[in-house]
Amino acid sequence: MKKIYLIALLLVLSLSLYAQDARNRTVETVVADVLAAMPAQTADVLSVHMADLAATAPQSVVEVAKLMKPAAAGVKNSIYEYALTGLVNYVNDPQHNAKAADVLKGLQEAAAACQDAVNKSFFESLQNMLRPYQAPQEEPSLTLKEAKKLLKAGSTAEKCLAACTIMNEQPAKVWKTVASALKSNDGQFRNSVIDNATKVVGASALVPLFVSKFKKLGSEAKADVLNWFGDNKISAVAGLVASAVPEGGEVGKAAISAAGKIGGKKALAALLGQLGGENAEESLIALKSFKGDIQDDVCSALANELASGKDFSTGDNGKLLKNLLNLVNARKIAKAAKSVYSMIGSGSQYLEALGVNSLQNVVGSDDVDKVASLLDKAAPVQKTALQKALSSTLHTLAPAEQYSKLSGIMKKAANVANFYPCLAATGADEAVDDLVSAVDAGKSGALASLMAIDNYKAAPELLKIAKSDAANAVPLLNRYISLVNEYETSPEKTRYSLGEVLSLAGSVSDAKARTGLKKSALKALSAVPTMKSFLLAGKYLDDKEASYDAADAVRKIAAKTTEEINYADLKDNLTKAAGIYASTGNADDAYVINEIDKILAKAEPSPISELTEEEKKQGFEMLFDGTNLDKWQGDLEGYIPMNGTIYVSANYGSTGNLYTKKEYRNFVYRFEFCFLREGVNNGVGIRTPMGVDAAYEGMCECQILDHDAPMYANLRDYQVHGSAYGIIPAKRVVHKPLGEWNTEEIRVEGDRIKVTLNGEVILDGNLRTACKGHNVSKDGSKENPYTYDHKNHPGMFNKTGYISFCGHGEGLKIRNVRVLDLGNKK
């Protein structure tokens, strides 16, 4: 003790006063406290600790540095590295830099004392972080003399550099340099000079030069200049650009692109004029992105073209018309409706087809009836386009009106089936109903529309049909998955739905379709971070068709879920998944394996329950030791092993029960249970057959109930925990708090049942005596005055039966279940 005191004293004396902080901790203590917090989880925590470390610098720095060892197996330097870097960053913050000099001093001492090259360079790099920032020195650029020389004899890149240097140094020479570059055949040089000149003097200063030289330029240079006009949006040259638009080849292309970017009336006219020419494609692109209102110009061009009297169907005659319509379609030019309708009514098959195709892009809210009548008598090739047109007119109505308007039309229609896709497009609930009845009535085309409708109400219908319609099962299930994906908000329902798809997928005979279905279902499942979806995905890890997707799913779920997953399942599934990733050999997958290792490193193996020495001597048998439910049968989905416990999610009813595999007559049954939430309800069925209500069909059901929950304040006495339900009430005692384990023993011998909870006997009685031998009413009626709940208990005198857990919802955990079979005495 004296020695430590002495060191502390020495520190205080030999070093400055701030070697101890306000709490009178020594430097060593400060360092230890800081190191214990590394790495800090938030910026605030970091600040607090770094302030301590800074206050005690330079000693603190030296102390931390001394702890660092040369890297080797088992050496863990990282917390010191966190601390020292954190400190340097902290004092480097302008708000906290008062101690920067001391930190630097500490680092210098540490580096001087350090023998290990790696650690030493670490201290040195931290010192570098403490020097004030200075911009790096610029490399000396070329001298003008060198530049002039290179401009004549250098490589292309060197000539570019030379010209750039000259222009930077002598901006007055920019125009001369550009003028001579424009004459060069070297496109790299030409464009580089133009580019750099623009940077030096700005675009507008170069425009007069380009305009004056333009006519005499070679075609490549012309294209460069036109591109430059466009990139810099030089509106002053709109006329020049427009006049170059009709030129062919690269010059024309560049002019078109520039005209599109510069915009204006002249450009628009020039571009529209090109829609029938050599560069029509480029013009169309330019017009699609042309800024401003182009409707009137396009419409008059279209009207003129239609009035030209050409035979559009021969040769290239229709090119301009088609491209004008392409533009109408792309920009939804509603004003073109008049021309479009005139084409439909023209009597020319060629024009009619084009018109019908464009109709969807020009119709408005007044067109519903007109389009509907066209659709009703549409030729097969026109149907799709007219359906789209009708849908787009309907969409201009309020959502509620769309269905009513359409169903009115359909009532009068001759070809109802023509309207199914429009019905689907309304997305209305009623539309789902109509389409389902149409499918049921065997109407052709109805199924495709039912699959297209964007309404979750269609999902269960699709699943139902998929189960009976093998030919369409694959597209139906794929659509089902996408609807569930989009609309289902409950993770449990999503998992259930995807489980249905996965099991149906197994019977799809086409391998590609089957694989595709499984993959999509597993992909969707991977976004459902629940324990049950983890187990479901795990089932497909051995399925060669979908193993990679299953691996992805289990990994993503395990990383994301907040639910508990049984260790053995977690380990099995993730280990399998890691193996699947390893077999791909790709880099991302190698990282995924690291991620899996991290998840597994955090998980703890399940505890295993064992019989006590005394129980072993007495002959108890372990029914559930935490690892598996091999000795059980019944609802193995609702009762699953979970890290040493049985996790119960089973619902009330005869299917939500877990039964022993063996039947018992007289026995001692011991188990532990805990409630995870308030009001949990379950029960132990005694001498019960399977698939029935143990409280009546079994000897009795020994209630498991969190009767401490406020909702059970007015509970009937024969319902409290431990009661032989409806027959003998138990003593109402208080359970351990939620999440803590209760121990229970149920002893059954002959007609006698004795229940001990947490060491206290809460029920001890003879069932036959309690009902005076009348387990059922004498007269066969439902009312039985002899039993406590006045109900019949036909199973009460069963000689033997299973022991069960009777599920009544989630929230119960059970562990360490043992039984002593007392045989058939009595």
Partner: protein, 432 residues
């Protein structure tokens, strides 16, 4: 083109390697090299780094327009694999290099494809530019903001065409977002969502941050495998004892080389946002981080990174496992929200969007850009900007504090420590 490809190759080769000023056909004949038999209007390409993305079927290709002629790696196994694959796929022997500087100087290579870990990107791109090569660079563009500035400068000075390899700003639906950028751009440009906007890049909006790209601390030094030139693998990075986890497929977990999932995915995700918000010429002015303390060497996880632009627009990155609960919009403005899959709170939004002009067309054919010398849609300038956002984030993570940034100077304001991360020294003899 008046200038033939041969002329342009000759010119490119001239000043760089005086010893090899020979027409390609002569060179080819001398070496018996079949590379020059094919019609010479095809461009040629060399890949540096053939252990990862460089070997992918996306990049390890030769076609009508561009031939793969050379590969380079510091791992002999990688190089052998690449040569075998070249033989198998194209039936020819690729030129193999172990020193990337030789590939960059190879007069027969027109385009240098940089597919190394990112601590090399800046240096290689600058040297390739100096050597007169056009550049195809994998993301993230550079490991530091300063290196990015150097690349931009060199590409401009030497008249090069540069492409950064992420593409969501002009094609594909990016990852889980379920929509291409185009309708988002139109929607934002229309002003229907109002202004300023907040963009949330999160698992909740369809993005994955690859959080498993984290480093390990307390590594025990291991002997360097024979096939690996570790010194050349490290290059400009600080010398640290070898451990297999530091290199090859797991290097992203170390700050010396990259910045974990943020570095790997950040530019993919942030670059389209710069485009959507119309911010290609600027940068955020503030970055805030919520994260556990980061180790100086090993990249760790983070909860969120929030960038704020001068006009109040924000980009919020939410770390894996720390996503907002419930239904979260990808873009949120004062007047509307848009969710993944282009689900929007504005009624009949598609009808409105369809009537708007398309976004301005961009040059998305890299080889065509090389031919016509036009800027690629994602080139050095906008590429450097989106990469800078990634790097601002990693600076703030490493320091664990809020940083303020000056988009014009591209330096942090009032924080020398942060600025030291803008320009990090390179290990001698490497210098950018």
């Amino acid at each position: 083109m008046a200038q033939s490809r041969r002329d342009f190759i000759k010119k490119a080769g001239l000043g760089v390697a005086a010893a090899t000023i020979l027409p390609r056909n002569v060179l080819g004949a001398m070496n018996g090299d079949k590379r020059f038999v094919a019609p010479s209007d095809r461009m040629t390409r060399g890949i540096i780094g053939v252990g990862g993305i460089g070997m992918s079927n996306l990049h390890f290709v030769s076609d009508e327009r561009c031939r793969l002629v050379a590969v380079c790696d510091v791992d002999k196994n990688h190089l052998d694999n690449a040569l075998a694959k070249g033989q198998e796929k194209f039936g020819e022997k690729l030129q193999a290099y172990t020193d990337w500087r030789d590939l960059v100087r190879d007069p027969n290579v027109d385009i240098v494809h940089i597919a190394t870990p990112s601590h090399w990107h800046g240096l290689m791109a600058v040297e390739a530019a100096k050597a007169g090569k056009d550049i195809f660079c994998e993301k993230p563009m550079t490991r530091t903001i300063g290196e990015g500035q150097k690349v931009v400068e060199a590409v401009h000075k030497y008249g090069r065409i540069f492409r950064l390899d992420t593409w969501f700003r002009f094609k594909d639906t990016f990852y889980g977002l379920g929509t291409t950028v185009e309708p988002l751009k139109k929607l934002v440009d229309s002003g229907l969502l109002g202004w300023p906007l907040t963009v949330r890049i999160s698992g909740a909006t369809g993005f994955a941050w690859k959080f498993y790209w984290t480093g390990k601390t307390n590594l025990e030094p291991q002997p360097v495998p024979k096939e690996l030139d570790y010194d050349m693998w490290l290059g400009p990075a600080p010398y640290k004892p070898y451990h297999p986890h530091r290199v090859h497929s797991s290097f992203r977990g170390y700050w010396d080389y990259e910045s974990g999932g943020l570095g790997d995915m950040g530019q993919h995700y942030i670059d389209p946002v710069q485009y959507i918000l119309g911010k290609d010429d600027t940068l955020p002015v503030k970055v805030e981080v919520d994260a556990p303390q980061q180790h100086p060497d090993a990249v760790g996880i983070w909860r969120s990174i929030t960038y704020t632009y001068a006009d109040g627009c924000k980009i919020i990155l939410e770390g894996e496992g720390f996503e907002s609960e419930g239904k979260v919009p990808y873009i949120e403005g004062p007047k509307g929200k848009v969710y993944k899959g282009f689900e929007c709170t504005i009624p009949n939004v598609m009808d409105i969007i369809n009537q708007l002009p398309d976004p301005e067309p961009r040059n998305t054919d890299f080889l065509d850009c090389v031919r016509t010398r036009r800027k690629f849609a994602l080139a050095e300038d906008n590429g450097h900007h989106s990469c800078t956002i990634v790097n601002i984030g990693s600076c703030a993570l490493r320091l664990g504090r809020t940083l303020h940034f000056d988009p014009d100077k591209q330096l942090f304001i009032g924080d020398d420590a942060a600025n030291l991360l803008v320009n990090q020294p390179m290990r001698a003899p490497w210098k950018i």
